[in-house]
């Protein structure tokens, strides 16, 4: 799995911004906050969170509103709203490009883009220094139809649109989001599946997002995988995310480390 490309804090007007590009999906996220909130939306003890998803083509439709609701519910649990009461945290996500085959894969396109939106939103929040309880990572798992009804097929981890197209028809897709302390934050599924299939997908997702339970994996550079005892180890999403933030902090602290 190639690591996503991220650029942080590149916009001038927004308090925090991030551009995230991964397997054909490119999203620009911007966060403004804490800023003044309308009297009618003001909450006495919490910050109000506003999420705006703008599609690449056209104006927003109910699909974007649905994505905004999912994102709102997930982000509300990790933003420390009690620390900034009576303010507004405004998150805007502009979808810049989608992979060509996105609408011909036959799966729910809201779910395919959801992990990427979550990552972009989180990175923009980190860039804006909004107080967060923990980080989150998210992944898409696709369970393709198996050749025979008895055997189950291997779930695809974070498949590209191309892989989804080739695996058509796909029985079910699942989006999971995990917090830094391995708690499940978001669980959205679409299609037909059994509980066992869902549990297997959830386990796989946890592995991809948070990494192995025990320490033993070797931390590797993005894009390369080293053969270690015959096993191919890949970096978990959480480690990638920490790497991004570490680089940002190192860059901003360079004045200190230079002396």
């Amino acid at each position: 799995m190639i690591a996503p490309e991220v650029t942080l804090t590149h916009l001038n007007r927004a308090d925090g911004s991030a551009t995230y590009t991964h397997i054909g999906y490119s999203i620009i996220g911007a966060v403004n906050g804490p800023i003044e909130v309308q009297r009618r939306d003001e909450q006495p003890e919490d910050a109000t969170i506003e999420v705006n998803v703008r599609p690449a083509v056209g104006v927003g439709s109910p699909k974007e509103r649905h994505l905004e609701t999912l994102l709102h519910n997930t982000l509300r649990s990790i933003i420390l709203t009690r620390l900034i009461p009576r303010t507004l945290v405004q998150i805007t996500l502009q979808i810049r490009s989608l992979p060509e085959e996105d609408d011909s894969t036959g799966v729910n396109t809201s779910l395919t883009i959801l992990p990427h939106l979550l990552h972009t939103a989180l990175l923009a929040l980190l860039s804006a220094s909004i107080p967060l309880r923990t980080i989150l990572t998210s992944v898409l798992i696709a369970v393709p139809s198996s050749a025979s009804p008895n055997t189950s097929s291997t779930p695809l981890l974070s498949p590209t649109a191309n892989e989804l197209l080739r695996a058509k028809p796909v029985r079910s897709i699942h989006v999971f989001a995990f917090s830094g302390d391995r708690k499940l934050l978001l669980n959205e599924s679409d299609g037909t599946f059994s509980y066992a299939e869902w549990a297997e997908a959830c386990e796989k997702a946890e592995e991809v997002c948070c990494g192995e339970e025990e320490e033993g994996g070797v931390k590797l550079d993005e894009g390369e995988s080293m053969e270690l005892d015959g096993q191919v180890q890949e970096e978990s999403l959480e480690k990638w995310l920490r790497g991004v933030v570490r680089r940002k902090v190192e860059w901003e602290q360079r004045w200190k480390s230079a002396t």
Binding site: N52, V57, G58, Q94, S97
Partner: protein, 291 residues
Amino acid sequence: MPREAEISLNEREFIKQALQEQIRLDGRAFDAFRPLELTFGDEYGVADVQLGKTRVIARISVDVTTPLPERKFDGIFQIVTEFSPMASPAFEVGRPTDAEVILSRILEKSIRRSNALDTESLCIIAGLKCFALRADVHIIDHDGGLIDAACIAVMAALQHFRRPDVLVEGEKATILSVREREPIPLSILHQPLCVTFSYFEDEVFLVDANLAEEQVRQGEVILTMNKHGEVCQIAKYGGATINPLALLNCTNVALQKVKEMTTFIQKRLEKDAKKRDAGGLLAELSAENAR
């Protein structure tokens, strides 16, 4: 809706004083644009313009639909601009501000009304089927000069875009996908580009003001011209009065700027075409015999 942070009195005075001494805060000449960067996306029809700190992305998409009953021989062309809170926290989704309406109208007048795009070429079968072209303008970062940047973005995207080819047999038309036949470019009749002039006391005219200068100015004139010397639209909505000779002088300056920008866009388009056609593959794939 949070208000835009207004420029402080000190900053205002500083800018005005500097202009009286013929100095612009970022050191540009009075008739110089900020550094312009133009990149194209991987797909056809996506243009990313960076004018100083202002960033605008334009994207062209096409759909097939029925033409308007009063214009049976024309296709449909629509420009949609929506400000998002990304560009500035003062923008609210769903409630168009004055600036948004003005931007939308100016783009409409410059590009649609002046017939920059030949809509007749978008017609497939008269009265039944036509292409509906849609230009989405996304404002990513706002530091003044939105109209100029948006116009460059839309024109560059229009010239970059390739629409699917159509095979018409009598009453039946088949849209050929990208794999079947190479998509064809749009028919652009002329390239209008906008230049915004901001004016201050003592007949000082600045080209391409940034946000701070925009808040200090006494008024603005938005000129749209093409490189052939035709003025496509002028908009001076109010603001302090100016001498008509100054207005005519602006058209001369604008012509020069528009010519520069047009060659710049052309060069970038060629560079992008070369990148896509890496190794002269297109020439190899052509089935023509050398005569």
